[in-house]
Amino acid sequence: MKHTIRQVFHSGKFIFGFSILVAILLVVIIYPLVIPDPPLAIIAQGTFFEPGIYVNVYDTMTAPKYILNLEGAAAKRIASRLSKDDRTAMRDWLVASGIPEDEIDIDDTALLLDLWETHFDPKVNIPGMTNAKRNYYIRLNTSLDGLLATEGAILAVKNAETGALEEKGVIEQSQYVNASKVANVRLLPLGTDNFGRDVLTELVAAARVSLQIGFIAGTIATLIGLTLGLLAGYIGGLVDDLIMFFTNLFTVIPGLVLLILISFSIGQEKRGATTIAVVIGFTSWYWTTRAVRAQVISLRNRDHVNLSKLSGHSIVHIILNDILPYIASYVVMAMILQISSAILAEASLSILGLGPRTTEVPTLGLMMNWAMIYYAHTLGKWWAYIPVLVTIALITFSMNLMNTGLDQVFNPALRD
């Protein structure tokens, strides 16, 4: 046993896969302790906020301010408000209204703005311009107000009695606040989803639930498969025929279809995470059964089994002592595969909307589902689905890697 463990951890692939899995497990366990926010809490008004650091603007007004003179601060400011596309659009308008092209340099902001201010007239009709484009130019023109201004902005507060605006303070262009001194700052490394939930917190909770489902389903499937496989393989005869009949039934019926049907018939109300796990477990055992049965059939004619019989041991004793330990390593590998495939099965179900109820906990599949039905992929909101994909991939990858690593240990012929 010790030797086996030594061998197992000698396998590079196993260690790699194992570390990934352990890392995921640690994150899933520790994250909720550090950030105890409920994963399904809607924190954003609006959909698909991009990942970033969200700083409360109101609090920055009252936070201590510091003057920093950084080079290129003004240029950055202008560039963020006047994108390349906008400049190109301005040039197009100017050219269309008669200004020779070689006089326009879109990188020279001051010149461009100068030309624009002199010549732009919303009433001028440029042939071939759509209404939308015309509105765009009007909006652009308005937004250019004060682009090159160097004065600060004025903070004014409404006087409660007179209703008039009273100047409270000035925000200079060279003033900075220390983000850690601002009262309300929220880091959203993965932005928000369509409902306005913090994707990262949601993801961690979803990973936890999916792993739970995977483990429960995988364990159920392996236990059923092991028992049936042992009985069918060792006893043979009629018992074998019966069990194989059932197994073949389940093999032939497409697993996903079966899952969909059962899931649908359970109904939305009863579909919790555990229920789904049990359903998946009870529909995916057939593979393990066949594999175990094949192993047991090859084992039951071995000399040590015959000698056990000759020593008067009962069938149960022989199965538990002479057969089971010999297939244990195989069963461990089968279990790893069942767990990873259960996680994928749940994800498939959830994408179709037949997974666990959406009101309590998210699952990885559910997150994918939401991302899909709210068109995250067409809108380019990658943070709503790519991290989920990566997580699913990492979990399954790590488990399969562990499986391959174990493969090498238990089958010496595969060792390099």
Binding site: K309, S311, G312, D322
Partner: protein, 269 residues
């Protein structure tokens, strides 16, 4: 021959595997009588059905046709209890010492199983140790050196000898030895054979060797049965069958074994 009792005999013993087109006749209506204290060899090439016959004699494989008689009575192994009773009288040693052991159990388990089978489950541990030590010393092994070891810590010869110690503990009337020395070094072969002979001398055990090695059969047996395609083609005393074979198959078999005292005629193939 003096009045010898028949220990194990069979009439029309047959084993058929499969149905229809895949029907194979492994053992074909075989008759035999083995006497108490006799050493018998069943010799055949691979595929001759000798292993299947052995398994049938042991009760590990069912018979399709025919009857087996143990000590004159028809054998009945329909219930587990009856099987246990039968196995108190007939045991086996197999070819590969490495696969005869459960690699997850310590070797003590093998011997303790035998003590339990003889009804010694309730014996105090000290008595069990005494019995195991005695069994081990019969095969020139020291129990205190082997106790609590796993099978892979022993050598092939030691493992096979421990199998014999197991037989010593059980004292069956019949022992079926399936190629017991083919995976043992030549130098250790004599030891194994000597021990088996000693068992026969001490308790009058009938030994049935299953082998393909004509030399072994000749050296060790009183009677030899030659098996081909599930049938006994020739049988008789060892001298008769090996030195004065009558059937063509037997003659060919003997001719094909390399000789050192006589000329080995290679032209017959």
């Amino acid at each position: 021959m003096a009045e010898r009792k028949v220990c194990l005999s069979g009439t029309g013993l047959t084993k058929i595997y499969g149905f229809g087109r895949t029907r194979t006749l492994a053992v074909d209506h075989v008759d035999f009588s083995f006497y108490e204290g006799e050493v018998v060899s069943i010799v055949g090439e691979s595929g001759s059905g000798k292993t299947t016959l052995a398994k049938m004699l042991l009760g590990l494989t069912s018979t399709t046709e025919g009857d087996i008689y143990f000590q004159g009575q028809k054998r009945d192994i329909s219930t587990q209890k009856k099987r246990l009773e039968y196995w108190r009288n007939i045991q086996a040693i197999f070819q590969d010492p490495f696969s005869s052991y459960n690699i997850f159990n310590k070797i003590d388990a093998v011997l303790l199983d035998c003590i339990n089978m003889r009804g010694g489950r309730q014996f105090p541990y000290s008595k069990k140790v005494e019995m195991m030590t005695q069994a081990c010393s019969f095969v020139n092994l020291k129990f205190e050196e082997l106790t609590n070891k796993y099978p892979f810590e022993l050598s092939g010869g030691q493992m096979q000898r421990l199998m014999i110690a197991r037989v010593f503990l059980l004292m069956p009337k019949i022992l079926i030895a399936d190629e017991p020395t083919s995976m043992i070094d030549a130098c250790s072969r004599a030891t194994i054979l000597d021990m088996l002979m000693q068992l026969r001398d001490e308790i009058g055990m009938t030994i049935i060797f299953i082998t393909h090695d004509l030399g072994l059969a000749y050296y060790v047996s009183d009677s030899v049965y030659i098996m081909e395609h599930g049938k006994f083609v020739e049988s008789g005393s060892a001298d008769e069958v090996i030195l004065r074979p009558k059937q063509a198959y037997t003659k060919r078999l003997i001719n094909d074994v390399p000789k050192i005292y006589e000329e080995w005629d290679l032209s017959t193939v």
